[in-house]
């Protein structure tokens, strides 16, 4: 009896020390889960999820503070991907945070722009180019369509425009036809 207790205690202590050492020796810097979640988010940095950017939202999800259905730009694909990653059930997008819209970019009506730089300060990805009292313009390639530049504009010269499909972005549609059980 005593031998058994002793043996198990010794084993327990030995493995405990081993695990304790491993935890310090192989400690991972940062939270890999946050990185994984962040990689799935669309990086629009729009703040519709109520967090100031995609990474804070990812951190909140990892901590269990936020739900996975708060990202309208990501839409269903992102919710599905997050559900797969976190092994949860996918849910529909929470309408409180916005609606799913087609991909858009901001366009500045250049003759109207007064060069106030407010939109430049609002843009989270530095996609607006300009200087004080000079006309501003949006670098369409870099614009994530977050709409954060719209409210600060004092002359209301920024419009969101749907990105048009062209030959280079076109893709084959999902084949749709009725499956018949018997040849007609």
């Amino acid at each position: 009896m005593l031998t058994a207790v002793l043996a198990l205690s010794v084993l327990g202590i030995a493995f405990g020390l081993l695990l304790g050492f491993a935890a310090i020796r192989f400690k991972i810097q940062g939270d890999p889960l946050v990185d994984q979640i962040d990689a799935l988010l669309p990086q629009t940095q729009c703040g519709q999820c109520t967090y100031p950017g995609c990474r804070p939202y990812a951190t909140a999800i990892a901590k269990g503070e936020a739900d996975i259905n708060q990202c309208p730009p990501g839409g269903e694909t992102t919710i599905q991907a997050l559900a797969d990653l976190l092994d949860r059930d996918p849910k529909p997008l929470n309408p409180e945070h916005g609606v799913i819209k087609p991909k858009m970019v901001a366009v500045i009506d250049e003759p109207v722009c007064i060069g106030c730089t407010l939109c430049i300060q609002a843009c989270p990805v530095d996609a607006i180019l300009g200087a004080p009292k000079q006309m501003h313009t949006v670098i369409a390639e870099e614009c994530t369509g977050c709409e954060l530049c719209i409210p600060p504009c004092p002359v209301d010269c920024i419009d969101m425009v749907t990105v048009k499909q062209d030959v280079s972005t076109w893709k084959w549609p999902y084949p749709v036809f009725a499956i018949t059980e018997k040849p007609a």
């Binding site: 990086q43 530095d126 084949p175 007609a184």
Partner: protein, 537 residues
């Protein structure tokens, strides 16, 4: 097989592929080729108006260098290549530029692309051009440049800029050039007719390409259903060294580059690899003829042979057509009625696609247009559930598992389809062709490929957005920190430093400024006085 491969390697120059191999699967669809080979090739009428899309090739859109109202001459460059994978566009005839705008193009999407519209003046006047007197004196890079400036792209159907294929990376030496005259798709006969009628041009182009690649030997592969073309090519290459014309057995999709390399050399092109990885470069016979015209005549690529066929036209035939010519005009010239067509198809029945309009322009990659009635292409039969018969796997020339790809693509499991090597699929359509349940398998693969590409592009974009966001945050923080330190320094200076010192410093500064102003005023005064004296005198 192994032994034969080594024989090929050892004997090199003398024994050029004595043996033929075969690839997995393949199908034998009905040929329908005799339809369009009865008449010699006819030059199409000069059209009144030509529409030239700027994306007739794979790669970046060409950049227009003319504007509406400009007069252009035949062969004049009207749009230049923008980027490495791109090709310029030339005016196919002389005339006036009417418009540079979005116009419908022949594409499965039915979308438009930036195009240049030219109204011909009927004179067909050539721009001054320079032929190369002796191409052997030019080095390969100069030759490549001429080919690039001539806007030559692969004329087999894909439209990949030819000059890139003539530039094997320095560490890869090219042993064999394969001229592809296989033309395995039903209905299409433009390469067949080109070999019959312009064999000399093809051979001349071949010599130039061999020189540009510094390759040792050339094989011209022709399916054995084209005996006339074979004879013509044999006759044209009689005095050539290191050139063989090879009859290959008729089987679809033998004209596909990787399959042809396998048939001729017994070597499989690796997954994600190119023919160059096994020391081979493949060019279409039409491309070789275009290279000949560019070097020996200084003519850019402005026309090609096109098969106009199908039971929707009375006289199916091949025509030499200027790019930009409307397809409806060609159908009319072949005795067809565009109002009574069931479908108009660009390319062959296996890999081609239905067009949304009959007035679309002919482009560099248009090898065939099929004016189809119900007789040519019966209505698609009803789709039934997959019965797991495996016929598709037997037919697949790439040895993929089309059933598995189908299941995963159908359920949008994009990771899984990639595990089953979706991207090795050449979309030849053999699997759909043999499917007893009539499932349009290729459509699923195309859909899955498109989805994956879009995802990839979105991922790249979001990565860039993340970087920019993080960089911005970092910049804002450093700016804030800098401001903070400056402020605290000033504060510290005000608090601890001698206040009278700073006061004195300002005083001296003001004094210095006052002195400067005074001296300036004095100078001005004396100057004025002098001036006054001068005027008085």
């Amino acid at each position: 097989m192994e032994m034969a491969v080594s024989c090929f390697r050892n004997h090199g120059e003398t024994c050029i592929m004595e043996q033929l191999w075969r690839f997995h699967g393949g199908v034998h669809p009905e040929q329908h080729k005799a339809l369009s080979t009865r008449h010699p090739v006819q030059t199409a009428r000069l059209p009144k108006r030509l529409t030239l899309p700027l994306n007739q090739h794979i790669g970046e859109l060409a950049e227009p260098i003319v504007k509406p109202g400009d007069k252009v001459l035949k062969g004049q460059m009207i749009a230049r290549a923008s980027g490495y994978v791109s090709a310029p566009v030339h005016a196919p005839t002389s005339g006036t530029v009417l418009d540079v705008a979005q116009k419908p193009i022949p594409h499965p999407s039915g979308l438009s692309a930036l195009s240049i519209v030219i109204e011909s003046d009927g004179e067909d006047r050539w721009v001054a051009s320079q032929a190369v007197a002796d191409y052997t004196s030019l080095d390969p890079s100069a030759l490549r440049n001429i080919v690039r400036e001539a806007g030559i792209v692969g004329l087999g159907g894909a439209g990949f800029p030819t000059y890139i294929k003539l530039n094997p990376s320095s560490h890869k030496s090219v042993k064999t050039l394969i001229l592809n005259g296989v033309e395995c798709e039903p209905y299409i006969t433009c390469d067949d007719m080109l070999m019959r009628e312009r064999a000399d041009e093809i051979v001349s182009g071949m010599r130039i390409i061999l020189h540009a690649l510094q390759a040792e030997e050339c094989v011209i592969a022709i399916e054995d259903n084209k005996p006339e073309a074979y004879e013509a090519m044999v006759a044209a290459t009689r005095n050539e060294q290191g050139v063989t014309v090879k009859h290959v057995p008729t089987i679809y999709p033998e004209g596909s580059e990787k399959q042809l390399v396998q048939v001729l050399t017994g070597q499989e092109v690796p997954s994600n690899g190119l023919a160059i990885h096994v020391g081979v470069v493949c060019q279409n016979v039409g491309t070789a003829a275009a290279v000949h015209r560019a070097i020996h005549h200084g003519e850019p690529l402005i026309s090609r042979f096109i098969t106009v066929t199908g039971s929707g036209v009375k006289e199916p035939r091949n025509m030499e057509v200027l790019f930009g010519t409307s397809m409806s005009e060609l159908i009319e010239q072949c005795g067809g009625d565009i109002d009574h067509l069931d479908r108009l198809i660009m390319g062959g029945p296996m890999m081609g696609f239905a067009l949304h309009d009959t007035h679309l322009p002919v482009i560099k990659t248009t090898n065939c247009i099929i004016a189809a009635t119900r007789a040519d292409l019966p209505q698609p039969r009803p789709v039934m559930p997959c019965i797991r018969c495996g016929a598709c796997a037997d037919a697949c020339p790439v040895s993929l598992l089309p059933q598995q790809l189908y299941w995963y693509a159908k359920h949008k499991e994009l990771d899984k389809v990639q595990e089953y090597n979706l991207f090795d699929c050449i979309e030849c359509g053999c699997c759909s062709y043999v499917c007893p349940s009539n499932i349009p398998l290729v459509q699923y693969y195309r859909f899955a490929k498109g989805e994956i590409w879009i995802k990839e592009r979105e991922r790249e974009k979001s990565d860039i957005a993340r970087q920019r966001f993080e960089f911005r945050n970092q910049r804002l923080e450093t700016e804030k920190a800098e401001r903070e330190t400056r402020r605290s320094k000033k504060k510290a200076a005000l608090k601890t430093g001698n206040e009278s010192d700073t006061h004195d410093a300002t005083q001296t500064e003001i004094k210095a400024a006052m002195e400067r102003v005074q001296s300036k005023q004095e100078i001005a005064k004396t100057g004025n006085e002098k001036n006054a004296e001068n005027t008085a005198e």
